[in-house]
Symmetry: C2
Subunit: 806 residues, 2 copies
């Protein structure tokens, strides 16, 4: 094989690699004496040895070789470290190229800086053993495995000149999300998107086991990668004591071949000469686990063994023999050749680093807030539905939102995308197809002409919530905007991904050099109350519960209940940064309650009284508060209020609606929280409050347990009573129906149940009759409701049956 | 190609297929006139058309062909319907083979029975449009996609004579869990396990899009399947009006080839002549979406188009032309040839069905409770750690449990497995390797001799929580037992799978013919408080919150706090059925608090007073209650109690520990709930309760908000303040440390804060000093605590630093 590099470049590659390895080992083991200016002693070693060595030399090796090609070809590149516990490596590289000292000034290029660099690693108050928000150049939290490749593709979308080098660990490769993420290449457009170079790093072992992909025949592995649609290249080396310089040469040659091929594909695509989806190159790099660590420790193999996954010399501080082994290991990198007297890396090392923003750790793409631009948002008021009186018109809320989103897409053609697990149209957002397509680079058939598919487009549909979430995270963290729409129940599939993103945002807020990124916006529809034929498997409103466990300064939850409130809510969400906004909304035909002016006022407050629906008398406290959050609970509360108005006209009923769920919390617990005075003014401190809530009822208790009136709060919500049935039967099964709410009011006002026993029985009978009607006919029952309006009252008939079948 | 079937068999196959298709269409559309004895009229059609047609004819086709080979070869086979909305098909097949009428007697083989069969589908109170617990022969809920292949392999483990036919939809195949589930073949043992036959059904479309695997070149698809380690067979047909009989012939021939090959592999394996992992056959079946529905509706293509995914004739009731189209569609199956005058299927159809338990819908494997045997459990008392006095010995709780689990494994060598995402040893359960191995059928290297790998073994390790959960669910639902151990934070990865399993258990309990299966047991360790180097990404105790949203009769949560309580808890869990048991326990060296006798008594109650730790006086109410749940909170509460004993000896402190978290709920809300009298006797109704809890503090409020003393309850727990730091620093960051708890007590007792201002300040200073110590040195601080003991007091010094590095 002809070497593609000269001896000087080879020296630089090897020097960088040795330096990065040295710094990685130093981070894991050393408290002091960072450059071994004196013999290594017990007190120089950390009392607790934490962190992982195993994957690091491979990451350092790849990083070095990427540096070379970035310099040679002036590439715009970011680096994603997928393998777990790769932290020491990416930190070492960011230190060597200078970025680390630029963003953390006390960790400068000196002995002292090195001492601080080493100590902070896996040390109290320091940095974790994974790539993390604290790591310059990272958009990927390495703690939970499986998302590196999705993040990489998310970063590449709409970044046509970007190369994303994504290192996939062979442990990580066993996860489901990673196993499907390879298929992202069926969506990437070679012209308008960037390039992802997956580097599958086979070091053979995870914590305590070999890895699957390292233990299948090479022809099977190649078939798998070809089956995923890639053109695989292989570099293997470092085994049985092979000289690393030989591996450097093979790696450099292969990297050049790969980048030549990528350049060819890009050129052909740009020239319009690419027939269909290309087989993008990917690299399989096979090196020993723990490469360059002691070959054997205490008679057990260490290098090229799962034993080097974590800390190969666990007793380095306590056993003289291990201390000496560690010292020799460190010296094997010849630090005196790599660092000068001041502790700074020498020119031989730093010469490999690209300049300025070309450094992978300094690339602004990986600090997306630097690049984020505010969206151009069309005025959502122009999309308002007409509401002559409450409930008199009907709309599918998400369909109306879709029209606005269409124009958001049109106005922001390069940095806004919509992601969905095959549910964009099911969730009624198909208006977006008027201005863009579903991006699709797999095969086409003639029939696809009416299916809104195109090689370039900004709706991303794949039947994997993981893929959608991972792509969106990568897209947001590189400075763009997006929305993920999903069925409410199945967004739980990404609970853990949400956790990591929320933690990323929380940490980022504390890192001065990280700039705010666009919020992650969920639009959850096909919700718990409308699963007429899907039944119990599709009924779960618990994502909200999951989300509110995270830091209050990161999460927001909204329950707009009609088209205009949804428009107003979403306009707000798309203007925010560094949040996760969860919006749950209906997609079925449902009554519109508020005019746009009312909707804006209501959503701005986040909570408020529907005076047209209640019967309270100005200046007097109500007898009872009927509260609601969510479209179906709002409908049932309004119907209950109408029943009470008709049957108990003397009763002073207040109707309160909550759009911004976090308003219920105390102001000390959430920035949106009402203060107690505001809360008490709405809910009273001593009157019964019947609260009809979209999700699990106990969440309302958890949000309000500190409030004065909490003992009088009675919450109805989804209590896991679901099946294949009509909307009315669903609320009935969960005691959230209009009749039950009216009975709740009667039961909670002292003395009323005995005075109104006949009415109570009548409501109970009506309830059972309604159930029988709906169960027998498979149709819903209409609501006939009366409101205060124009100085008098006005009657509306609302039919909730209908909507189609998803 | 030579047909492998005679004309009579071909007639039977086609008749079965037509009958099943007819019954499927009937379920979707018809309310009445099930056999079209009169012309189809509007009133015979359901008012709301729900359900999905698209995948059903393919499922029916496969089912028919499996029936044939089961009969011909006397196979023991179950059927897993992976594609979404396949309900009508599997129900139709179970009806045709007679099982459906056996388990649901009113749905008999008559016109009336058919009317009921049709009406119940996607109708209020009826059955959902997916395979579900209500479906005889199913172990797989088809509502949430992605788990069919994992379930199939779980069913096959330790069932050496079983063939699991797993139909994978091409939509489902895009999910992450399914994409990695193909690799399950690296774990299956050809001798001791059964066979999984994956059938990838490419009908080309999901809800509104083509599918990825249907739109890659065939050579790529074949490479992918070979890369996954399978030998792919292809059957393609039914396009462009091809006669189905020709497709039947090809399918039958291919099925015979596949089953011959499977028989060869099994025989070779049994004879010990199989070198390494075989390439098991898998089938790619390519047929039109919605096969046999009208080719075109209103000028749009229907068959072989995404438009046939759901209900192809949405206006069948309201449009005469559509009514006629539907009638012609139904008649195209020639029902008069398939059903007799009484409405029963004729012999031509039923002759294809296997007999008795060989029918896939009647196979007892798919109603695992019929086969489940109680585990032989060694006496856990024999594994007790010695506890001369509270806190005087130290153990790693999960390591002790591992010794008992080892002997559980040895005593139950065919029906108990342990599943872990590469974390069995990290969670300290490695004693199990003394009696079994990690099952591994990928390649071996000489170095593996010390790695506890073997082709047959009952520890399942793969770096995919999805895979572990899916395998375990399949294993349990086919009548066996198991435990899944995972890091606490990352069990959120399977939140949604847990949801579906919990819903399955809830539904199953209401189905008389489903017998109870073994509980799904989680052992969560490496928990939120001990992530010394992993940091924030590994800190999330919210799985408990997620779990308790599900039905109280299905979920149980335990927080044993030392080795003996963990043993006692787990012995209980392994004896239960139809629950999900969540057990969170520590793996680091930690003090043992209770003797085995005390542990049993305490765990039996689930909650109780540690009188040795408190200072209350018999017969008097305490001044304050210090409550705790979880190992770290228990340690901190005990340390706080000791501080108070020393510094405020006159204060009457009660220490309450909760092992069974559900004891806190009201008895009306959970079967384990204490009644109010019992609760008040423990917690008082008016004294301050400082509750140190393992997870998010608000969960304790949500569980107790109805209790009399709730207003006096102050909960400390994890409030998302985490980082890379020591155990003490972690509790300190979340205000759960011993000093803060003692200060909480001082602050909550009226007047005490002013009387004890100096002590309060001293504790505050000690707190900050402890933090500085631990942060600077990276070591934890010891606890020195004093207990009532043997009529006097006894002092213990507890050092919580240590434990290794996972």
């Amino acid at each position: 094989m002809t070497a593609s590099i000269d001896a000087e470049t080879l020296d630089r590659l090897d020097a960088w690699w040795r330096a990065a390895n040295y710094l990685s080992v130093g981070q894991i083991y050393l408290l002091d004496n960072p450059l071994l200016r004196e013999p290594l002693a017990k007190e120089h070693i950390k009392p607790r040895l934490l962190g992982h060595w195993g994957t690091t030399p491979g990451l350092n090796f790849i990083y070095a070789h990427l540096n070379r090609v970035i310099r040679d070809r002036d590439l715009d590149t970011i680096f994603i470290a997928g393998p777990g516990h790769g932290g020491p490596g990416v930190v070492a590289s960011a230190y060597l190229d200078g970025t680390y000292s630029e963003v953390y000034s006390t960790i400068d290029r000196s002995d002292d800086g090195l001492r601080r660099l080493f100590k902070q690693f896996s040390f109290p108050g320091g940095i974790p053993s994974h790539a993390a928000p604290e790591t310059p150049g990272s958009i990927h939290e390495g703690g939970e495995l499986g998302y590196s490749l999705s993040h990489a593709y998310g970063a590449a979308f709409d970044n046509p000149d970007l190369l994303v080098a994504a290192v996939v660990g062979d442990g990580e490769a066993e996860t489901g999300p990673l196993a499907t993420a390879w298929h992202s290449n069926k969506f990437l457009d070679p012209v308008t998107d960037g390039v992802v170079l997956p580097i599958l790093h086979l070091n053979g072992y995870k914590i305590a086991n070999p890895t699957v992909l390292a233990r299948i025949p090479e022809e099977e592995l190649l078939a798998l990668m070809r089956g995923y649609g890639y053109e695989p290249y292989i570099v293997s080396g470092g085994f049985d004591g092979e000289d690393p310089r030989a591996v450097h040469e093979r790696m450099a040659t292969t990297m050049d071949e790969i980048l030549d091929r990528i350049a060819e594909i890009k050129a052909a695509a740009t020239a319009g000469e690419l027939p269909g989806r290309p087989a993008w190159p990917m690299l399989i790099l096979r090196t020993p686990k723990g490469w360059t660590c002691p070959a054997e420790i205490d008679g057990h193999p260490a290098e090229n063994n799962w034993r080097s996954h974590q800390v190969p010399l666990a007793d380095a501080r306590d056993t003289e023999a291990h201390t000496r082994l560690l010292e020799n290991w460190l010296l094997s990198y010849r630090p005196d050749e790599l660092f000068d007297d001041s502790g700074a890396p020498v020119a031989l090392v730093t010469a490999l680093a690209p300049e300025g923003d070309r450094r992978m750790s300094a690339n602004p793409v990986a600090n997306g807030g630097l690049l984020r631009k505010d969206l151009r948002l069309p005025d959502f008021r122009d999309y308002a539905v007409d509401v002559p009186a409450p409930g008199e018109t009907v709309a599918e809320a998400t369909r109306v939102l879709g029209e606005w989103l269409r124009d958001v897409m049109a106005a922001n053609p390069r940095d806004f995308r919509l992601f969905a697990p095959d549910e964009t149209a099911s969730n009624r957002l198909q208006a977006v197809y008027e201005v863009t397509a579903k991006q699709w680079n797999a095969e086409y058939l003639p029939i696809d002409s009416d299916n809104h598919l195109a090689p370039s487009g900004r709706v991303m549909e794949v039947l994997s919530e993981h893929q959608c979430q991972g792509w969106l995270e990568g897209y947001l963290l590189t400075g763009r905007h997006g929305v993920l729409t999903s069925y409410e129940a199945f967004i739980h599939i990404v609970d853990s991904m949400f956790n990591q993103h929320a933690k990323w945002l929380k940490s980022s807020r504390g890192i001065p050099w990280r700039r705010p990124v666009a919020s992650l916006n969920y639009l959850l529809s096909s919700h718990v109350w409308r699963q007429d034929h899907n039944g119990a498997s599709h009924q779960d409103p618990g994502f909200i519960d999951h989300v509110v466990n995270k830091k209050a300064d990161v999460v927001r939850v909204y329950l707009p209940f009609d088209a205009n409130t949804l428009l107003s809510t979403y306009d707000h969400c798309l203007r925010t940064t560094d949040y996760v906004n969860v919006v749950v909304a209906g997609k079925q035909p449902a009554p519109n309650w508020l005019t746009m002016e009312e909707a804006i006022a209501h959503c701005t407050r986040g909570i408020g009284i529907f005076d047209w629906a209640g019967t309270e008398v100005e200046g007097e406290e109500p007898d009872v508060v009927l509260a609601c959050a969510g479209d179906i609970p709002t409908l049932e509360v309004l119907a209950a209020a109408s029943i009470l108005r008709e049957r108990l006209p003397e009763l002073k009923v207040r109707v309160v609606n909550v759009v911004d769920l976090m308003r219920l919390q105390s102001e000390g617990e959430h920035p949106h929280g009402l203060n107690d005075r505001e809360y008490d003014a709405l809910f009273t401190t001593d009157k019964p409050v019947i609260f009809a809530y979209h999700g699990y009822p106990w969440l309302i208790h958890r949000l309000t347990y500190r409030r004065a009136g909490h003992a009088n709060l009675h919450v109805r919500g989804y209590k896991e009573e679901g099946t294949t049935t009509t909307p009315f039967d669903m609320v009935m099964l969960n005691d959230l129906d209009r009749y039950h709410l009216a009975i709740d009011v009667i039961d909670r006002i002292p003395g009323l149940a005995s005075r109104e026993a006949a009415l109570r029985q009548e409501l109970q009978d009506a309830r059972l009759a309604a159930r029988q009607y709906t169960r027998e006919r498979g149709e819903d029952i209409p609501v006939v409701a009366e409101w205060r309006w124009g100085g008098g009252t006005r009657t509306t008939r609302i039919d909730t049956t209908g909507g189609d079948n998803d």
